[in-house]
């Protein structure tokens, strides 16, 4: 500037001020606009943020529910796993127990490992002894002295014993406070399960499994598992006891059988000895008797021929009687000898095949005089298809002669004797029957009819002499042919003798001598 001074009062500032005001207003407006916009954005952001936080909060609340449910599921899963593991353990135990019938071995299977697998640190098993007191058989995790003292105290507690007798499993979950305190004090086991051992005979003992207070409490699942274990044990004990009884009985039986067998064996030997001696006696006596009889008969015969001199008639009659009686005696001796030899197996049947019909016809002819004298009818009823039998003809003839002869003796006049045969192809034998319409035999005599020397007590036997050996001999001959003989009878109706002869004779193993007869 050129140094010219202009006084202030001479300038107009209004336009400048107006301009500045306008600018300020514009800036303020802009700033206000920006502020309002940002506030809006801020509010929106805050609202969104609050929404998110609310969502998070809700999410978190749901998460808490999820966690709670999950925790319960995990607990349930853990309990399930425990039960499954426990059941698996019990199944393995059952298999081991089934492999033994020894009581001590069963208890040895209950060990610390088993208790641990079931989730317990302590266990005791008590059984009732013969005196009716509980005795500890297994003790795990508890001192022996404590166990022995415990059982005495427990047995005195009425609540405890009545709970046992109820047969129910109980535990620290549901036992009375008194029982809980008692068990806790004496066995140092706050959490426990107790189960009785029940057999068919009643209470046999009890088992108790438990843990100290630091462990988790027992559950219903634990009660079930211990209950199952108690059942298994009781079953095992019962099986061992039954086995023991059966074993002892069978031992006793075996001992008795052995003793009786020995006795019978001795008796049999004695009987055989007696029988042998009897046969030998009979044989010896018979032989001794034959010699003098031979002389008696011989001399009687010579005298009867008159070669020694004329015999008066009365003497001749008496000599005839001597002859007859000698013959009878000879027959008796021969029969005795036959029986003796057949019984002792010293006789072999000489068997050849024979048709029975012709043989019986021959026998019928032989007996015709007796039949005619008595007035008895003989019927031979042998079917044509009866096969030939391998028999010793002479011996079998004796059987028929004896049976038919007896029938003639005991059948009154006009009676009938029937001889019949039936072939049983299945059994490969022929059944013969000699049936009469005679006087019959009493029941009590039937059992003895085949005994040696036995004669039925009746009028006919009293009047007719006999040795009582005929039926015994006949039976022996049939049995020597591997047949059987038996009799049926009705008093006043008649008697039937039955005997069988096999179609084929089975020879004996040992060679025997031919049956000698005395020929006089």
């Amino acid at each position: 500037m050129n140094g010219v001074a202009y006084p202030v009062s001479s300038f107009d500032l209004t336009p400048l001020l107006t301009f500045v005001s306008l600018v300020l207003a514009a800036v303020s407006g802009i700033l206000l606009y920006i502020y309002v916009g940002k506030s809006e954005e801020y509010r929106e952001l805050k609202a969104a943020y609050d929404k998110i936080m609310l969502a998070f909060h809700e999410l978190d609340e749901q998460a808490k529910l999820i966690v709670k449910t999950d925790l319960e599921l995990n607990k349930a899963q853990e309990e399930l796993d425990r039960r499954l593991t426990g059941l698996n353990t019990l199944q393995k135990l059952a298999r081991k127990m089934s492999m033994t019938l020894d009581e001590n071995e069963i208890f040895q299977r209950i060990d610390k490992e088993l208790a641990t697998e079931l989730g317990f640190a302590r266990a005791c098993i008590f059984t009732l002894n013969e005196e009716g007191f509980f005795a500890a058989r297994v003790s795990i995790g508890i001192e022996q002295a404590k166990v022995e003292a415990a059982v005495k105290q427990l047995a005195l507690d009425v609540n405890f014993t009545s709970a046992l007798k109820s047969g129910q499993t109980f535990s620290s979950l549901n036992a009375s406070q008194k029982t809980k305190t008692l068990v806790s004090q004496i066995l140092d086991t706050e959490h426990f399960v107790l189960s009785p051992l029940l057999t068919q005979r009643g209470l046999a003992g009890f088992i108790i499994f438990g843990n100290r207070y630091q462990a988790p409490p027992v559950t219903e699942g634990d009660e079930e598992l211990i209950g199952i274990l108690a059942s298994q044990l009781a079953q095992g004990l019962e099986n061992t006891q039954l086995f023991e009884q059966v074993y002892r009985s069978s031992q006793m039986l075996e001992t008795k059988v052995n003793e009786r067998t020995k006795e019978l064996s001795h008796a049999l030997k004695a009987v055989e000895e007696i029988s042998k001696k009897k046969s030998e006696f009979i044989s010896a006596v018979s032989h001794e008797l034959r010699t003098p009889l031979t002389s008696i008969k011989g001399y009687a015969s010579i005298l009867m021929t008159g070669k020694v001199g004329e015999i008066p008639e009365p003497v001749r009659e008496r000599l005839a009687k001597i002859n007859t009686h000698s013959d009878n005696l000879v027959k008796l001796i021969n029969d005795l000898l036959d029986i003796s030899r057949i019984e002792s197996g010293r006789v072999e049947m000489n068997t050849t095949p024979h048709q029975m019909k012709p043989q019986l016809d021959t026998i019928a002819d032989l007996l015709t005089p007796q039949l005619t004298t008595k007035g008895v009818n003989l019927v031979i009823n042998i079917p044509a298809d009866t096969p030939p039998l391998e028999i010793d003809t002479s011996q079998v003839d004796r059987v028929f002669i004896n049976l038919i002869g007896n029938a003639i003796k005991f059948t009154p006049a006009k009676g009938t004797i029937t001889v019949s045969a039936h072939t049983n192809w299945d059994k490969q034998e022929v059944l013969f029957e000699v049936a009469d319409t005679g006087i019959g035999i009493k029941k009590e005599d039937l059992v003895k009819i085949f005994d040696e020397f036995f004669r039925v007590d009746n009028e006919i036997n009293m009047s007719v002499k006999g040795t009582g050996l005929g039926l015994a001999l006949a039976k022996n001959i049939v049995e020597a042919h591997y047949g059987r003989m038996w009799v049926t009878s009705d008093v006043g109706v008649g008697t039937t003798f039955h005997f069988t002869l096999p179609l084929q004779h089975k020879p004996r193993e040992t060679k025997k001598s031919k049956l000698p007869t005395m020929e006089l």
Partner: protein, 397 residues
């Protein structure tokens, strides 16, 4: 000679005889006089000096390594009681073993470094492939130990580990190193040579509920979550279901196993799981590895199907890495939490894995209370972490 594997297992009540029986079984499959290495997994009480004497006489191993476990995983089943022995003889695979004792008394990071270097010294192999580690890790900040291993082995080196504890308490931990039974220790097995190696880990747990923020954490202790004591995280979800200890502190026990905390490290990446192993008087939660302030945490829930799928995915990963050739031996280190969820069907998981990798694949493993593995597969080896609730598959071919 290729690679020979022998596996034996026994449950005899006498631990020494059980070890003997298992050694004989392993020997009968091996059919060779000397084993290059023997790996033993055993349940509580099954490691005894007499047993190790039998083992040495029967298998004549050059190296022995082992760990206690709640259960042993075998080719066909899982056993909660007994001793399992794996014997390996190989021209292709090289081994080195080492041990660090008194883990609690020494700085963990240093122990990790020493263990790694001692195993390398023992192995002296030109080509290292992987490192297995079994250790007592309960209530320790095992991240430090793992960092030490990494420092000794290299950041990109494959590490698989398992915490050998039986009941979650340090009192029931032990490891085996040659003829020694070591409580409170860490043992390591370095594997190398010409063999192929593959590693994969998955967990299958899913996040539940809203995310929370870890406001304060110090090493392996979480102090505040959402500005409240850390225990409120569980108390919010479980309220009265939380059992209490004698001093009325919550006992997280099984709940902590079934519902671990899932730490979200980076969006899109798998959750890192942490079991709470202890609750402090101020409500802080102690974990087994580091947790960072600022990380998000979810409650995690495990369903059987998801867990099985995770095992399947891990096996498929191995198969892909092995180009469908069956491995010679498959190691499984699996969290005990997974066994709790899977229950009786846990053994089916082995069959599922073998369906993928080959029905004749020999399997040998253990259940653990904590694992070390990459989250994912060997491709993500740099993401190897100490973790929980997972299944780790390590295959050697």
């Amino acid at each position: 000679m290729a690679t020979h594997i022998g596996i034996g297992f026994s449950q005899l009540s006498d631990p020494a005889l059980a070890c003997k029986e298992a050694a004989i079984q392993a020997k009968s499959q091996l059919n060779l006089p000397i084993a290059n290495v023997v790996v033993i997994f055993y349940t509580d009480g099954y490691a005894t000096p007499e047993g190790l004497t039998h083992l040495r006489r029967i298998l004549q191993p050059e190296r022995v390594i082992g760990s206690v476990t709640p259960a042993v995983i075998l080719s066909e089943r899982i056993e909660s009681k007994g001793i399992g022995i794996l014997a390996i003889v190989s021209d292709d695979i090289k081994f080195g073993v080492a041990a660090i004792e008194q883990l609690r008394l020494n700085p963990l990071r240093e122990s990790g470094v020493k263990l790694a270097r001692a195993a390398e010294t023992d192995g002296k192999m030109p080509k290292r492939q992987a490192f297995f580690c079994f250790f007592n890790g309960s209530q320790n900040n095992n991240t430090l130990f793992f960092q030490g291993l990494r420092e000794g082995l290299g950041r990109m080196f494959a590490v698989a580990g398992a915490m050998g504890i039986t009941t979650g308490s340090q009192a029931h931990s032990s490891q085996l190193y040659n003829d020694k039974i070591l409580p409170d220790s860490a043992v390591g097995l370095l594997i190398g040579g010409q063999a192929s190696f593959s590693l994969s880990a998955r967990h299958g747990w899913q996040p539940l509920g809203k995310p929370r923020i870890i406001d304060e954490a110090e090493n392996n202790v979480i102090r505040l979550i959402d500005k409240k004591p850390a225990i409120t995280f569980y108390e919010d979800y479980f309220k009265d279901s939380l059992p209490r200890m004698d001093d009325s502190r919550p006992n997280l026990g099984d709940i902590g196993l079934l519902y671990p905390m899932g730490i979200s490290t980076n969006p899109g990446e798998p959750y890192l799981l942490r079991h709470p192993v202890q609750v402090l008087s101020d409500g802080s939660i102690v974990c087994q590895a580091e947790v960072r302030t600022g990380d998000r945490v979810h409650l995690m829930i495990g369903k059987k199907d998801a867990l099985r799928q995770a095992a399947y995915d891990a096996a498929a990963d191995i198969r892909e890495q092995f180009l469908s050739r069956p491995p010679k031996i498959l190691f499984i280190f699996e969290s005990i939490a997974r066994r709790k969820v899977l229950g009786r069907s846990a053994a089916n998981e082995i069959h599922l894995i073998k369906d993928v990798l080959g029905l004749t694949t020999p399997v040998f493993g253990m259940y653990t209370y904590g694992e070390i593995a990459p989250i994912g597969s060997l491709k993500e080896v740099e993401r190897t972490q100490v973790q929980n609730a997972s299944i780790v598959l390590a295959a050697i071919g």
